[in-house]
Symmetry: C2
Subunit: 192 residues, 2 copies
Amino acid sequence: MTDKKPPVRRSEKSRQAILTAARELVAEYGFAKLTIEAIAARAGVGKQTIYRWWTSKGAVVLDSLIGDTPNGAALPDTGDLATDLREVMRLTAAEMASPEIQASTRAMNVAVQTDPALAEVYRERYLGPALASARDRLASAREAGQVAADADLEVAAEVLFGAIYYRWSLGLGPLDDAYADAVVRLVASGLR
Amino acid sequence: MTDKKPPVRRSEKSRQAILTAARELVAEYGFAKLTIEAIAARAGVGKQTIYRWWTSKGAVVLDSLIGDTPNGAALPDTGDLATDLREVMRLTAAEMASPEIQASTRAMNVAVQTDPALAEVYRERYLGPALASARDRLASAREAGQVAADADLEVAAEVLFGAIYYRWSLGLGPLDDAYADAVVRLVASGLR
Protein backbone atom coordinates (compact mmCIF):
# COMPACT_ATOMS: atom_id res chain seq x y z
CA MET A 1 0.00 0.00 0.00
CA THR A 2 1.44 3.33 -0.98
CA ASP A 3 1.06 6.32 1.30
CA LYS A 4 0.74 9.02 -1.37
CA LYS A 5 -1.09 12.27 -0.85
CA PRO A 6 -3.59 12.92 -3.60
CA PRO A 7 -1.99 15.24 -6.21
CA VAL A 8 -3.01 18.88 -5.91
CA ARG A 9 -5.29 19.50 -8.84
CA ARG A 10 -3.71 21.66 -11.49
CA SER A 11 -6.71 23.92 -11.74
CA GLU A 12 -6.68 24.62 -8.01
CA LYS A 13 -3.00 25.56 -8.25
CA SER A 14 -3.79 28.00 -11.06
CA ARG A 15 -6.66 29.42 -9.08
CA GLN A 16 -4.45 30.07 -6.05
CA ALA A 17 -1.72 31.56 -8.27
CA ILE A 18 -4.27 33.96 -9.77
CA LEU A 19 -5.55 35.04 -6.36
CA THR A 20 -2.01 35.59 -5.08
CA ALA A 21 -1.08 37.60 -8.19
CA ALA A 22 -4.19 39.76 -7.87
CA ARG A 23 -3.54 40.45 -4.19
CA GLU A 24 0.10 41.37 -4.84
CA LEU A 25 -0.60 43.52 -7.89
CA VAL A 26 -3.41 45.54 -6.32
CA ALA A 27 -1.12 46.29 -3.37
CA GLU A 28 1.70 47.31 -5.72
CA TYR A 29 -0.16 49.30 -8.37
CA GLY A 30 -3.64 49.99 -7.02
CA PHE A 31 -6.91 48.74 -8.40
CA ALA A 32 -7.41 51.30 -11.18
CA LYS A 33 -4.18 50.44 -13.00
CA LEU A 34 -4.56 46.70 -12.61
CA THR A 35 -5.42 44.62 -15.68
CA ILE A 36 -6.51 41.03 -16.16
CA GLU A 37 -3.48 40.67 -18.46
CA ALA A 38 -1.10 41.63 -15.66
CA ILE A 39 -2.71 39.15 -13.27
CA ALA A 40 -2.51 36.41 -15.90
CA ALA A 41 1.15 37.19 -16.63
CA ARG A 42 2.20 37.10 -12.98
CA ALA A 43 0.18 33.97 -12.27
CA GLY A 44 1.63 32.25 -15.34
CA VAL A 45 -1.76 31.46 -16.83
CA GLY A 46 -3.72 32.62 -19.85
CA LYS A 47 -6.45 35.26 -19.59
CA GLN A 48 -9.03 32.61 -20.44
CA THR A 49 -8.11 30.70 -17.31
CA ILE A 50 -9.04 33.74 -15.23
CA TYR A 51 -12.32 34.20 -17.08
CA ARG A 52 -13.16 30.58 -16.34
CA TRP A 53 -13.72 31.54 -12.70
CA TRP A 54 -14.29 35.27 -12.63
CA THR A 55 -16.27 37.75 -14.69
CA SER A 56 -14.16 40.88 -14.07
CA LYS A 57 -10.95 42.05 -12.49
CA GLY A 58 -13.06 43.41 -9.62
CA ALA A 59 -14.41 39.97 -8.87
CA VAL A 60 -10.91 38.42 -8.82
CA VAL A 61 -9.54 41.13 -6.56
CA LEU A 62 -12.54 40.85 -4.25
CA ASP A 63 -11.97 37.13 -3.88
CA SER A 64 -8.24 37.65 -3.45
CA LEU A 65 -8.84 40.09 -0.60
CA ILE A 66 -11.70 38.52 1.28
CA GLY A 67 -11.43 34.91 0.20
CA ASP A 68 -9.99 33.70 3.46
CA THR A 69 -11.74 36.17 5.76
CA PRO A 70 -14.15 34.21 7.91
CA ASN A 71 -17.21 36.26 7.09
CA GLY A 72 -20.42 34.79 8.18
CA ALA A 73 -18.60 33.00 10.98
CA ALA A 74 -20.66 33.15 14.15
CA LEU A 75 -19.80 35.91 16.61
CA PRO A 76 -18.40 34.82 19.96
CA ASP A 77 -21.03 34.13 22.60
CA THR A 78 -19.69 34.46 26.12
CA GLY A 79 -23.15 35.25 27.41
CA ASP A 80 -22.40 38.98 27.65
CA LEU A 81 -23.40 40.91 24.53
CA ALA A 82 -21.25 44.00 25.10
CA THR A 83 -18.12 41.89 25.65
CA ASP A 84 -18.68 39.96 22.44
CA LEU A 85 -19.51 43.01 20.34
CA ARG A 86 -16.45 44.80 21.67
CA GLU A 87 -14.25 41.92 20.55
CA VAL A 88 -15.72 41.90 17.04
CA MET A 89 -15.74 45.68 16.60
CA ARG A 90 -12.18 46.01 17.88
CA LEU A 91 -11.08 43.34 15.41
CA THR A 92 -12.99 44.95 12.55
CA ALA A 93 -11.52 48.37 13.32
CA ALA A 94 -7.99 46.96 13.59
CA GLU A 95 -8.35 45.09 10.31
CA MET A 96 -9.59 48.16 8.48
CA ALA A 97 -6.83 50.32 10.00
CA SER A 98 -4.10 47.83 9.07
CA PRO A 99 -1.47 49.62 6.95
CA GLU A 100 -0.58 46.44 5.00
CA ILE A 101 -3.98 46.10 3.38
CA GLN A 102 -4.94 49.79 3.31
CA ALA A 103 -4.19 50.34 -0.39
CA SER A 104 -6.06 47.20 -1.43
CA THR A 105 -9.13 47.68 0.74
CA ARG A 106 -9.52 51.32 -0.24
CA ALA A 107 -9.15 50.46 -3.93
CA MET A 108 -11.68 47.70 -3.49
CA ASN A 109 -14.09 49.99 -1.67
CA VAL A 110 -13.94 52.49 -4.53
CA ALA A 111 -14.38 49.71 -7.09
CA VAL A 112 -17.46 48.44 -5.27
CA GLN A 113 -18.92 51.94 -5.29
CA THR A 114 -18.44 52.39 -9.02
CA ASP A 115 -19.40 48.93 -10.24
CA PRO A 116 -22.95 47.82 -9.36
CA ALA A 117 -22.31 44.19 -10.33
CA LEU A 118 -19.27 44.03 -8.10
CA ALA A 119 -21.24 45.72 -5.32
CA GLU A 120 -23.80 42.95 -5.52
CA VAL A 121 -21.12 40.26 -5.23
CA TYR A 122 -19.65 42.17 -2.28
CA ARG A 123 -22.98 42.40 -0.49
CA GLU A 124 -23.81 38.76 -1.11
CA ARG A 125 -20.50 37.19 -0.20
CA TYR A 126 -19.14 39.57 2.36
CA LEU A 127 -21.41 42.19 3.89
CA GLY A 128 -24.56 40.11 3.99
CA PRO A 129 -23.00 37.23 5.93
CA ALA A 130 -21.17 39.61 8.30
CA LEU A 131 -24.37 41.53 9.09
CA ALA A 132 -26.34 38.30 9.47
CA SER A 133 -23.83 36.96 12.00
CA ALA A 134 -24.12 40.14 14.03
CA ARG A 135 -27.93 39.92 13.91
CA ASP A 136 -27.78 36.31 15.08
CA ARG A 137 -25.71 37.29 18.10
CA LEU A 138 -28.13 40.14 18.87
CA ALA A 139 -31.01 37.68 18.61
CA SER A 140 -29.40 35.30 21.10
CA ALA A 141 -28.85 38.28 23.43
CA ARG A 142 -32.52 39.11 23.08
CA GLU A 143 -33.41 35.58 24.10
CA ALA A 144 -31.13 36.02 27.10
CA GLY A 145 -33.03 39.19 28.05
CA GLN A 146 -30.14 41.60 27.28
CA VAL A 147 -31.96 43.23 24.37
CA ALA A 148 -35.45 44.76 24.30
CA ALA A 149 -38.07 42.55 22.67
CA ASP A 150 -38.96 45.18 20.07
CA ALA A 151 -35.42 46.24 19.16
CA ASP A 152 -34.60 46.41 15.43
CA LEU A 153 -31.67 44.00 15.17
CA GLU A 154 -31.09 44.56 11.46
CA VAL A 155 -30.64 48.29 11.96
CA ALA A 156 -28.47 47.72 15.03
CA ALA A 157 -26.08 45.52 13.03
CA GLU A 158 -25.80 48.19 10.32
CA VAL A 159 -25.24 50.92 12.89
CA LEU A 160 -22.35 48.96 14.43
CA PHE A 161 -20.47 48.29 11.21
CA GLY A 162 -21.54 51.60 9.70
CA ALA A 163 -19.82 53.58 12.44
CA ILE A 164 -16.51 51.86 11.68
CA TYR A 165 -16.97 52.16 7.93
CA TYR A 166 -17.87 55.86 8.08
CA ARG A 167 -14.83 56.83 10.13
CA TRP A 168 -12.59 54.70 7.91
CA SER A 169 -13.97 55.83 4.53
CA LEU A 170 -13.82 59.52 5.28
CA GLY A 171 -10.80 59.60 7.56
CA LEU A 172 -12.70 61.10 10.47
CA GLY A 173 -10.49 59.80 13.23
CA PRO A 174 -8.45 56.87 14.56
CA LEU A 175 -9.89 53.36 14.25
CA ASP A 176 -8.77 52.26 17.68
CA ASP A 177 -10.16 50.19 20.53
CA ALA A 178 -11.51 53.33 22.21
CA TYR A 179 -13.69 54.13 19.21
CA ALA A 180 -14.89 50.53 18.84
CA ASP A 181 -15.72 50.39 22.54
CA ALA A 182 -17.61 53.70 22.48
CA VAL A 183 -19.72 52.55 19.53
CA VAL A 184 -20.53 49.26 21.24
CA ARG A 185 -21.37 51.02 24.48
CA LEU A 186 -23.84 53.32 22.73
CA VAL A 187 -25.50 50.55 20.71
CA ALA A 188 -25.62 47.94 23.48
CA SER A 189 -27.14 50.54 25.78
CA GLY A 190 -29.64 51.55 23.10
CA LEU A 191 -30.71 47.96 22.61
CA ARG A 192 -31.58 47.36 26.26
CA MET B 1 -30.93 110.54 -5.04
CA THR B 2 -30.87 107.57 -7.38
CA ASP B 3 -32.22 104.21 -6.28
CA LYS B 4 -29.69 102.00 -8.05
CA LYS B 5 -28.76 98.52 -6.83
CA PRO B 6 -24.99 98.10 -6.60
CA PRO B 7 -23.72 96.37 -9.78
CA VAL B 8 -23.09 92.65 -9.39
CA ARG B 9 -19.34 92.28 -9.37
CA ARG B 10 -18.02 90.68 -12.51
CA SER B 11 -15.86 88.25 -10.60
CA GLU B 12 -18.83 87.01 -8.58
CA LYS B 13 -20.74 86.40 -11.80
CA SER B 14 -17.85 84.34 -13.17
CA ARG B 15 -17.65 82.43 -9.92
CA GLN B 16 -21.32 81.52 -10.05
CA ALA B 17 -21.08 80.59 -13.75
CA ILE B 18 -18.20 78.23 -12.92
CA LEU B 19 -20.11 76.58 -10.09
CA THR B 20 -23.20 76.14 -12.28
CA ALA B 21 -21.13 74.68 -15.11
CA ALA B 22 -19.39 72.25 -12.75
CA ARG B 23 -22.69 71.11 -11.25
CA GLU B 24 -24.26 70.56 -14.68
CA LEU B 25 -21.25 68.82 -16.19
CA VAL B 26 -20.71 66.40 -13.33
CA ALA B 27 -24.38 65.41 -13.57
CA GLU B 28 -24.10 64.95 -17.33
CA TYR B 29 -20.74 63.21 -17.66
CA GLY B 30 -19.72 62.08 -14.20
CA PHE B 31 -16.75 63.24 -12.20
CA ALA B 32 -14.06 61.06 -13.78
CA LYS B 33 -14.55 62.43 -17.30
CA LEU B 34 -14.90 66.03 -16.21
CA THR B 35 -12.05 68.44 -16.97
CA ILE B 36 -11.25 71.96 -15.86
CA GLU B 37 -11.23 72.88 -19.57
CA ALA B 38 -14.84 71.73 -20.00
CA ILE B 39 -15.96 73.71 -16.96
CA ALA B 40 -14.15 76.81 -18.24
CA ALA B 41 -15.69 76.44 -21.73
CA ARG B 42 -19.23 76.10 -20.45
CA ALA B 43 -18.82 78.91 -17.93
CA GLY B 44 -17.34 81.16 -20.62
CA VAL B 45 -14.18 81.89 -18.65
CA GLY B 46 -10.52 81.04 -19.00
CA LYS B 47 -8.92 78.16 -17.04
CA GLN B 48 -6.89 80.67 -15.08
CA THR B 49 -10.08 82.20 -13.72
CA ILE B 50 -10.99 78.85 -12.23
CA TYR B 51 -7.53 78.40 -10.72
CA ARG B 52 -7.88 81.80 -9.10
CA TRP B 53 -10.42 80.30 -6.69
CA TRP B 54 -9.88 76.55 -6.73
CA THR B 55 -6.88 74.22 -6.70
CA SER B 56 -8.43 71.22 -8.49
CA LYS B 57 -11.53 70.09 -10.33
CA GLY B 58 -12.50 68.18 -7.19
CA ALA B 59 -12.52 71.37 -5.16
CA VAL B 60 -14.73 73.16 -7.72
CA VAL B 61 -17.17 70.28 -7.90
CA LEU B 62 -17.28 69.99 -4.13
CA ASP B 63 -18.15 73.67 -3.83
CA SER B 64 -20.69 73.38 -6.65
CA LEU B 65 -22.45 70.53 -4.88
CA ILE B 66 -22.39 71.62 -1.27
CA GLY B 67 -21.92 75.36 -1.59
CA ASP B 68 -25.48 76.21 -0.73
CA THR B 69 -26.14 73.35 1.65
CA PRO B 70 -26.54 74.83 5.10
CA ASN B 71 -23.93 72.67 6.78
CA GLY B 72 -23.00 73.77 10.19
CA ALA B 73 -26.47 75.26 10.58
CA ALA B 74 -27.80 74.54 14.04
CA LEU B 75 -30.08 71.55 14.40
CA PRO B 76 -33.69 72.27 15.34
CA ASP B 77 -34.30 72.42 19.07
CA THR B 78 -37.91 71.71 19.99
CA GLY B 79 -36.86 70.52 23.41
CA ASP B 80 -37.23 66.87 22.46
CA LEU B 81 -34.00 65.31 21.20
CA ALA B 82 -35.52 62.32 19.38
CA THR B 83 -37.95 64.55 17.47
CA ASP B 84 -35.17 66.84 16.31
CA LEU B 85 -32.78 64.05 15.37
CA ARG B 86 -35.53 62.30 13.43
CA GLU B 87 -36.12 65.43 11.39
CA VAL B 88 -32.44 65.84 10.54
CA MET B 89 -31.82 62.16 9.82
CA ARG B 90 -34.94 61.90 7.64
CA LEU B 91 -33.77 64.95 5.67
CA THR B 92 -30.25 63.61 5.34
CA ALA B 93 -31.50 60.22 4.16
CA ALA B 94 -33.90 61.82 1.67
CA GLU B 95 -31.17 64.09 0.30
CA MET B 96 -28.77 61.20 -0.17
CA ALA B 97 -31.46 59.07 -1.80
CA SER B 98 -32.50 61.85 -4.20
CA PRO B 99 -32.23 60.55 -7.79
CA GLU B 100 -31.42 64.02 -9.19
CA ILE B 101 -28.12 64.34 -7.35
CA GLN B 102 -27.24 60.64 -7.12
CA ALA B 103 -24.68 60.66 -9.93
CA SER B 104 -22.94 63.76 -8.60
CA THR B 105 -22.86 62.78 -4.95
CA ARG B 106 -21.58 59.28 -5.70
CA ALA B 107 -18.91 60.66 -8.03
CA MET B 108 -17.95 63.15 -5.35
CA ASN B 109 -17.83 60.48 -2.68
CA VAL B 110 -15.44 58.40 -4.79
CA ALA B 111 -13.32 61.47 -5.55
CA VAL B 112 -13.06 62.24 -1.84
CA GLN B 113 -11.92 58.69 -1.16
CA THR B 114 -9.19 58.79 -3.77
CA ASP B 115 -7.86 62.30 -3.24
CA PRO B 116 -6.54 63.02 0.28
CA ALA B 117 -6.40 66.79 -0.30
CA LEU B 118 -10.00 66.86 -1.42
CA ALA B 119 -10.95 64.68 1.54
CA GLU B 120 -9.46 67.27 3.85
CA VAL B 121 -11.46 70.07 2.24
CA TYR B 122 -14.57 67.91 2.50
CA ARG B 123 -14.02 67.19 6.18
CA GLU B 124 -13.27 70.82 6.99
CA ARG B 125 -16.08 72.48 5.08
CA TYR B 126 -18.79 69.88 5.14
CA LEU B 127 -18.49 66.93 7.48
CA GLY B 128 -16.84 68.74 10.36
CA PRO B 129 -19.52 71.45 10.62
CA ALA B 130 -22.35 68.90 10.20
CA LEU B 131 -20.96 66.68 12.96
CA ALA B 132 -20.31 69.69 15.20
CA SER B 133 -23.94 70.85 14.82
CA ALA B 134 -25.17 67.41 15.81
CA ARG B 135 -22.84 67.38 18.81
CA ASP B 136 -24.11 70.81 19.87
CA ARG B 137 -27.69 69.58 19.82
CA LEU B 138 -26.70 66.50 21.82
CA ALA B 139 -24.96 68.76 24.32
CA SER B 140 -28.07 70.88 24.79
CA ALA B 141 -30.08 67.67 25.29
CA ARG B 142 -27.56 66.65 27.92
CA GLU B 143 -28.09 69.94 29.71
CA ALA B 144 -31.83 69.25 29.54
CA GLY B 145 -31.27 65.88 31.20
CA GLN B 146 -32.17 63.80 28.12
CA VAL B 147 -28.67 62.44 27.66
CA ALA B 148 -26.46 60.71 30.24
CA ALA B 149 -23.75 62.93 31.70
CA ASP B 150 -20.95 60.60 30.57
CA ALA B 151 -22.24 59.91 27.03
CA ASP B 152 -19.71 60.30 24.21
CA LEU B 153 -21.39 62.91 22.01
CA GLU B 154 -18.71 62.91 19.33
CA VAL B 155 -19.12 59.18 18.76
CA ALA B 156 -22.91 59.48 18.86
CA ALA B 157 -22.86 62.08 16.07
CA GLU B 158 -20.67 59.83 13.93
CA VAL B 159 -22.88 56.82 14.60
CA LEU B 160 -25.95 58.73 13.43
CA PHE B 161 -24.54 59.97 10.14
CA GLY B 162 -22.45 56.82 9.69
CA ALA B 163 -25.54 54.62 9.62
CA ILE B 164 -26.99 56.65 6.75
CA TYR B 165 -23.69 56.83 4.91
CA TYR B 166 -23.02 53.09 5.22
CA ARG B 167 -26.40 52.06 3.84
CA TRP B 168 -26.09 54.62 1.04
CA SER B 169 -22.47 53.87 0.02
CA LEU B 170 -22.90 50.14 -0.15
CA GLY B 171 -26.52 49.94 -1.27
CA LEU B 172 -27.63 47.94 1.75
CA GLY B 173 -31.26 49.01 1.76
CA PRO B 174 -33.72 51.85 1.27
CA LEU B 175 -32.88 55.27 2.72
CA ASP B 176 -36.38 55.98 3.95
CA ASP B 177 -37.98 57.54 7.00
CA ALA B 178 -38.32 54.12 8.62
CA TYR B 179 -34.57 53.60 8.54
CA ALA B 180 -33.81 57.12 9.76
CA ASP B 181 -36.30 56.70 12.61
CA ALA B 182 -34.90 53.31 13.63
CA VAL B 183 -31.36 54.70 13.77
CA VAL B 184 -32.49 57.67 15.86
CA ARG B 185 -34.47 55.44 18.17
CA LEU B 186 -31.44 53.24 18.85
CA VAL B 187 -29.03 56.13 19.37
CA ALA B 188 -31.37 58.34 21.42
CA SER B 189 -32.15 55.38 23.63
CA GLY B 190 -28.46 54.55 23.95
CA LEU B 191 -27.67 58.10 25.03
CA ARG B 192 -30.14 58.15 27.92
